[in-house]
C-alpha cells in the first residue's frame, strides 16, 4: 500500500489550503466551504491513522462519523446565519458585517 506519510501529507495540504481560505476570503459562504475542506482533511487523517495503526479498533471510523455529524450541523447553522445576515444587511461580505463594532 501507499505509505502512511503520503496520506498525511495530502491531509496537511488540504488543511492548509482550508486555513488560507478561511483567513483570506471575504465571502462568508466561501469561508464556510473552506471550513468544510479543513474538516475533510481531519477526516482523511483520522481514517488513515485508523487503517495503518489500529485497524481493529473502531475509534478512527467512529470519530470520522461524528465529524460528519458536526460538519452537517455546522453547515446547517452556518448557512442559516449567513442567510439571516444577508436578509438584514444585504451583504455576505464578512468585513461589511461590523454592526457590533459600534
Amino acid at each position: 500500500m501507499v505509505p502512511l506519510w503520503m496520506y498525511l501529507l495530502v491531509g496537511a495540504g488540504l488543511f492548509c489550503i482550508g486555513v488560507y481560505g478561511v483567513l483570506a476570503r471575504r465571502n462568508a459562504v466561501a469561508i464556510l466551504m473552506s471550513i468544510e475542506l479543513m474538516l475533510t482533511a481531519v477526516n482523511i487523517n483520522l481514517v488513515a491513522f485508523w487503517r495503518y495503526v489500529t485497524p481493529q479498533n473502531m475509534s478512527g471510523q467512529a470519530f470520522t462519523a461524528f465529524v460528519f455529524v458536526v460538519a452537517a450541523a455546522e453547515a446547517a447553522v452556518g448557512l442559516a446565519i449567513i442567510i439571516s445576515i444577508y436578509r438584514n444587511r444585504r451583504s455576505v461580505i464578512v468585513e461589511e458585517v461590523n454592526v457590533l463594532r459600534g
Binding site: C16, G21, Y86
Partner: protein, 179 residues
C-alpha cells in the same frame, strides 16, 4: 521506494482531485464554481476512504457532503446573490494568510516526513495488519454500551438542536407563519 500499482495510481489521481479541488475552492471568483470544486475535492476524499478500506465512510461522504451539504451551499450562494458580488476576491491581509498557510504546511510536512526519512527514520509506514474491522463492527461500536453509545446519542441530539436552530434563525419573520 514506491511500486507503481493500481492502488498507488488511484491514490495519485485522488490526491490531484482533493488538492486541485481545494485550490479551486479558495481561488475561484464565482462561488458556484467554488462549490463545484468543493464537490470535486470531497469526491477525492471519498476515494481516499475507499482506498483506506472504509467504504461506509466513503458512501456517507458522498451522501452527506456531496448530496446534502454541497447542494445546501449552492442553494445559499443563489439565495444570497453571492454570484453577483464578485468585486474583490480576498481581503487586505490575504498575503499574510498565504504566509500562515504555507508556514503551517511546511511545519506539518516536516513533522510528517521527519519520522520516516529523518535520523531515526525506520518507520516503514505500512499497515500493522490487513485484518481490518468490518462495517458490522462499526455498527456495533456505535451502539455498544461500552464504546460509543453516549457520543452517538449526543451527536443525534446535536443534529436535532442544530436543525431547530437553523430553522429558527433562517425563518423569515416578516412573513406570517401561522398558516
Amino acid at each position: 521506494m514506491l511500486e507503481l500499482n493500481a492502488q498507488s495510481i488511484a491514490f495519485f489521481i485522488f490526491s490531484v482531485l482533493v488538492l486541485g479541488g481545494a485550490i479551486g475552492v479558495v481561488t475561484s471568483r464565482n462561488l458556484i464554481h467554488g462549490a463545484l470544486y468543493l464537490i470535486v475535492s470531497l469526491f477525492g476524499g471519498a476515494g481516499f476512504f475507499v482506498l483506506l478500506s472504509a467504504p461506509f465512510l466513503a458512501a456517507v461522504q458522498v451522501l452527506v457532503y456531496i448530496g446534502a451539504i454541497a447542494i445546501l451551499i449552492i442553494f445559499a450562494v443563489m439565495l444570497t446573490r453571492s454570484m453577483t458580488q464578485l468585486r474583490e476576491l480576498v481581503n487586505a491581509q490575504w498575503w499574510l494568510s498565504a504566509i500562515v498557510g504555507i508556514a503551517l504546511f511546511v511545519l506539518l510536512a516536516v513533522a510528517v516526513i521527519l519520522p520516516v526519512w529523518g535520523v531515526d527514520g525506520t518507520n516503514p509506514n505500512q499497515p500493522v495488519s490487513d485484518d481490518i474491522a468490518t462495517i458490522q463492527d462499526l455498527g456495533v461500536a456505535l451502539v455498544d454500551g461500552n464504546q460509543y453509545v453516549l457520543p452517538f446519542e449526543v451527536a443525534s441530539l446535536l443534529l436535532t438542536a442544530a436543525m431547530i436552530g437553523a430553522i429558527f434563525i433562517a425563518r423569515d419573520t416578516s412573513v406570517d407563519m401561522d398558516d
